[in-house]
Amino acid sequence: MDVTALSNAKVGSAGVVERIDLPEDVCHYLAHLGFLPGTRIEVLRSAPAGDPRVYRLDGVEVGLRFETAKHIYLQVAEVGDAV
């Protein structure tokens, strides 16, 4: 399975968080929103300007900027078509 940054994952693809390379307090904050190793994340769509993008995890849709998503690493499981 490929490990890729969340920001590089294609719209429509999904994967499981492998690790998050961010300062501890940021990790902590993201963890309470569900961004934890083992969580399945789906790339839903981009905002009209391309960034931020909308991700779906735990049935919740969350907008995240490229600058944050590039530090979240994903094991890509499925590559689907754009929604």
Partner: protein, 636 residues
């Protein structure tokens, strides 16, 4: 991983009540994550009988109310801030922990807890359950949005879940009001039953997210929870509303549409209200004896308060639209679309929401900046919010425009000159805000690392109940302000404008106390094209911008030369066009609002920021008005 077991172990002990004699039930706490429908439930149970205040020393708002709507007027329901966990790194969570453990000064310790969770995504919602249970209060778990769960094919076994959690569990829909009977039943049982377990429970403060999560996953797996399908309507709507082309177009249409309706529909309503109040005032005045009492009431009090009250329709309309946008879930999408633009000036999309509300009033806007986690961006948003053209600026804008700008139409009557001037005043405030944000962005303020994370709730129909509650809240606040601060100001201005009394006669305006004060400050404001009456207006409007209209109304009203003509005509005869435009330019920038300063002081917990803000904005306003007057005077 040890912390994850702490709450679970606790739960197993919860079923063994210790008999200590009944303790009357008084206070109930409502706990839940953000967007779980907690406020809707709170409104359903308390109706209009709720109080809003701030917890002492912190910026977190405190809603509480009697549970009258479910027939329990003897119980107080406390609505805790929406939180994801009890880890006390956020102010909201700290407040929640202090209230739940009875350590919050002035708030009684809750006797039991209603924990509201969104049934459509239990995995994440249950992460909050573990730390809440470990506090050891009797808890009823309410799985909200049962209607959503059902229509989208999710499954939940409440009995199995209740068994796994060791607390009663019920499926409800706060929006539809279904399943709510379980709450009075639970409360009744709690009241009759002896207190279960009053032994002190150690609160595990550091419950790691990872351990709570694995616990939550285990529980949902064990109870065979089936998450519902993604909300189809939300997906479909988002594919249009967040579309590359239609998204931004719709966004613009919404923003323009809101302002258009507020002014197009608000203006006739305001006019109608003015007429109504003027007639009412005249009728009452006829009944009064023709002595000092009549001018006191009519010129001193009524005319001042009236000039402010007429803005109620527009303010309520603006809040109605913001309420609809927020409750429907669109505001979060708007923030997502605006993020890219906001980033260019060093802010994020979440600043869009406070900045939009700032068009109604900076006070709720500054309170709304709490959703911005990044401290630097939050301060920057607080700094620029008062530049947005708030509704308190409308009275003086409308007055000056009506008095000085001819009612010309261009392009076959589609665009009016007056509307154009109004629009440019809005643009002026907006540009000042952008410039300030840019300045702050390149300044030495330390950048913090808090990321931009924006939760996109599902689209929902806004409920009439929640909207009317908002309007009721806002209307009450505005009327309170008009009835207290503004009343006191206009009254003071009137008294000072007739004192001292010589031989039983009121002073003439120019020899009154206020006349002397006005003449004293005149040299400072003369270069801006303002006379001493405008100066008094400026001084009085430091309290609140709309006060100036009331003050001018009083000042020109007591002046025999302008007593019989309307305020517009009086101003036309007493100001140059340069001075008039400089006056509205001054108002576009100046920080004349003690409520805003007070809320900035409270939100930032220091006097430094409000002081800087006051000096910066007033200086900005003075220079801009000076330039405006000097330039316009050259040409006209």
């Amino acid at each position: 991983m040890s912390s994850c077991h702490a709450p679970v172990v606790d739960l197993t002990h919860n079923d063994a009540p210790v008999q200590i004699g009944p303790k009357p039930l008084r206070t109930v706490a409502l706990v839940g994550p953000p967007n779980c429908g907690k406020s809707t439930l709170f409104n359903r149970m308390t109706g209009l009988r709720q109080k809003v205040a701030n917890y002492p020393g912190v910026t977190v708002e405190h809603h509480s109310g009697r549970m009258k709507a479910i027939g329990r007027n003897d119980l107080t329901l406390i609505d805790l801030p929406g939180i994801y966990s009890l880890a006390t790194y956020s102010e909201d969570a700290r407040v929640a922990v202090e209230v739940l453990t009875g350590k919050m000064a002035g708030v009684p310790k809750p006797d039991c807890v209603l924990l509201v969770l969104d049934a459509t995504h239990m995995n994440r919602q249950l992460m909050l359950a573990a730390p809440v249970f470990s506090i050891g209060l009797p808890t009823l778990v309410l799985l909200n949005m049962s209607d959503q769960l059902e229509t989208r094919g999710g499954k939940i076994d409440t009995l199995a879940l209740a068994h796994a959690l060791g607390h009663p569990v019920a499926l409800i829909s706060a929006a539809n009001g279904t399943g709510l009977d379980v709450i009075p039943e639970f409360l009744l049982r709690m009241g009759n039953r002896p207190d279960d377990g009053s032994r002190p429970v150690q609160l595990p403060v550091l419950q790691s997210a990872a351990s709570c999560r694995s616990w939550a996953t285990q529980v949902t797996a064990r109870t065979k929870y089936e998450a519902p399908q993604a909300a189809l309507w939300t997906r479909r709507l988002d594919s249009v509303l967040l579309h590359r082309i239609w998204g931004p177009l719709f966004f613009l249409a919404v923003v323009i549409g809101v302002f258009q309706v507020v002014f197009a529909a608000g203006q006739p309503l305001s006019d109608w209200l003015t007429e109504l109040m003027t007639r009412g005032g005249q009728h009452v005045a006829m009944l009064l004896p023709d002595n000092w009492l009549r001018p006191l009431l009519l010129d001193g009090l009524w005319s001042g308060v009236q000039s402010v009250l007429v803005f109620l329709p527009q303010i309520l309309l603006l809040f109605l639209f913001i309420g609809i946008l927020e409750d429907s879930g669109y505001l979060a999408r708007a923030a997502l679309i605006a993020d890219r633009v906001m980033r260019a000036i060093g802010l994020n999309g979440k600043a869009f929401i406070p900045l939009l509300s700032a068009y109604a009033c900076a006070v709720p806007a500054i309170m709304a900046t709490r959703t911005i986690e990044n401290k630097r961006e939050r301060i920057a948003t607080i700094m620029i919010a008062p530049f947005m053209t708030c509704s308190a600026r409308l009275p003086i804008y409308t007055l000056i425009i009506a008095a000085f700008i001819p009612n010309q139409k261009f392009l076959g009557g589609v665009i009016g000159l007056r509307a154009l001037v109004m629009l440019s005043l809005y643009a002026l405030g907006f540009s000042a805000a952008m410039l300030t944000a840019k300045l702050m962005n390149s300044s030495v303020m330390k950048a913090s690392t808090a990321p931009f994370v924006l939760e996109l709730p599902q689209y929902r129909w806004p409920t009439v109940q929640s909207l009317s509650l908002r309007l009721y809240d806002r209307g009450k606040l505005f009327l309170k302000k008009a009835g207290t601060i503004i009343l006191a100001c206009t009254f003071t201005v009137w008294v000072l404008s007739v004192l001292p009394i010589h031989a039983g006669q009121f002073s003439l305006l120019s020899s009154s106390v206020i006349g002397h004060l006005g003449h004293f400050i005149e040299p400072v404001i003369r270069p801006l094209g303002f006379n001493w009456k405008i100066g008094i207006g400026l001084l009085s409007s430091i309290v609140a911008r709309e006060v100036i209209v009331g003050t001018l109304g009083t000042l020109y009203g007591v002046d025999p030369a302008t007593h019989s003509v309307g305020l517009q005509a009086a101003l036309r005869g007493d100001m140059t066009i340069g001075g008039a435009i400089a006056l509205v330019v001054f108002f576009a920038f100046a920080m004349q609002c003690t409520s805003t300063l007070a809320v900035v002081r409270r939100e930032t917990n220091s006097w430094k920021l409000p002081a800087i803000q006051f000096l910066y904005m007033s200086g900005f306003a003075y220079i801009a008005a000076l330039v405006t007057n000097q330039v316009i005077s050259r040409f006209f």
